[in-house]
Amino acid sequence: MAQSPRPRSILETLGEELVRIITPVSICMLLVVILVSVLSSDSSSTVTVNSIATIAYTETTSDSTWDKFVGALLNSLVFVAVVTLVTFVLVLLFYLRCTKFLKAYMGFSAFIVLGFMGGEIALFLIEDFSVPIDCVTFLVVLFNFAVVGVLAVFMSKMPILVTQAYLVVIGMLVAYWFTLLPEWTTWVLLVAMALYDLAAVLLPVGPLRLLVELAISRDEEIPALVYEARPVVASQDPRGRVGQRRVWRERRNESESNGNVGSGLGENGSTGLGDNVTANVEFGNRNDLSLVRAEEGRVPGRGELSAPLLEHITSVQQSGQGDDVSVDSMLLEGIGLGSSGSIKLGLGDFIFYSVLVGRAAMYDFMTVYACYLAIIGGLGVTLILLALYQKALPALPVSIMLGVLFYVLTRLLLEVFVVQCSLNLIMF
């Protein structure tokens, strides 16, 4: 009688899947909070960036609340409009099958994020701590970091851990950049992006929905940056079968079995049934719940997506230099269950969650805890809805709305309460 490991209950496998997606989100948020608390000197007026998100109105501390609110609203409208436009361009390019261009663009933007933004943040840290590093070492290290990062998100044949780590780092860098925006703009922008997500995914004319449907109808992958958790194998088969192993990623342009996406691809459902060779993306299939949610992009089905990142034109305000990192990259976000049963979450979700928590960190750590719990709770609710409805659902709204609500409540009500309790030695 062959020994077989104790079959794992569904609670364990589900729990492990959840943990595997919540961990990187938490790590990203933690890193952004650390960066924000280390690097922010005093108020936000010292570090402001000119970008698409502040093109309509530049916030100053002397404006009245209503002015700030209206200005922030204008900024967010402009930003959402730009994002919508770029998403439609992405849909068009995808429709015209310009996949190579999209992938090259994505690699390029990943390089820019890791190289330039990573370099800038590293310089901030070096200056803050006065690390006596010389430029040769710094450049070599940065170059290595950026190039290996591009390869990690580009190629599917990298260690899973390395790819996941780099995706989290990219999310962290972009999120830190977003926290440099003025305060009101950031909050209104978050809410606006949540609403945009809702519209873009659920409306029949929404760009993300079009993208998903295109991808489904063609059985292709969307080029997008997506974090894919390592799939949980319910029952381990120590011997493995070469022909039927689970392929974690397949790249349409890179996989050996090029034209035939389904061949050579042994799919194991999340129950670990060994001999299941399922076909391609089949929504609603029990083994292949490609439940996707998108923010600014969509990641359906399996496979790795490489998304072009959309960034904004930054320029140095005070010193008037023209160093523009004008990389437009669109972050595609989405959450879904890959065909191999692993949960996939788009990078945009990482970024906006981290922006929210980073902004909360700029006020106080109490808001950080509250917002963190709100976001994780929202993520859980979203996953439940995903399992319930089994169709494309937006990922951002629940978490962002809860997060903003908790931030406001904490800042206005909870903090006063806690401070007074502490001062009077009642608790804490």
Binding site: M1, I133, C135, V140, V162, V316
Partner: protein, 133 residues
């Protein structure tokens, strides 16, 4: 109870833990990673690209094919490349860190005024990379 793969069927003397079976998959991802044939080509490619001043790629190579590095007899071809990558990474790291430490610890006493010019945050200030900080 039949003997499974858990027991080591290979009686040849190896410097291995007595209970570890010969690995099936050359990559650290196990069944989620590459097959052996693909692994050879990827190991070779990582090794070659690492010469473009990319020791981190060599490190990733070693990390990725860790089973091949440890069990040299199961994957001879991969082991060939991975071993060289490991050596290359070690050498490069030693050189770079010795230079960086010399620079950092030696400071101005050792280098004179060149130290100030090579220092990263001075350079950044001069070029204005972080002009808004």
């Amino acid at each position: 109870m039949e003997a499974t793969d858990i027991q080591n069927p290979n009686p040849s003397p190896r410097i291995l833990l007595p209970s570890s079976p010969p690995p099936l998959w050359p990559t650290i991802d196990g069944p989620l990673g590459l097959s052996e044939e693909e692994s050879v080509s990827y190991a070779r490619r990582f090794y070659k690209f690492g010469f473009a001043l990319l020791p981190l790629l060599w490190a990733v190579n070693c990390f990725y094919f860790w089973p091949a590095l440890r069990h040299s007899r199961s994957f001879p071809r991969i082991h060939h490349y991975v071993l060289r990558s490991a050596v290359g990474f070690a050498v490069f790291t030693a050189l770079l860190s010795s230079w960086a430490l010399t620079f950092g610890i030696g400071g101005e006493r050792l280098f004179g005024h060149v130290w100030d010019e090579l220092l990263m945050y001075n350079l950044a200030d001069r070029i204005g990379l972080t002009g808004w900080s």
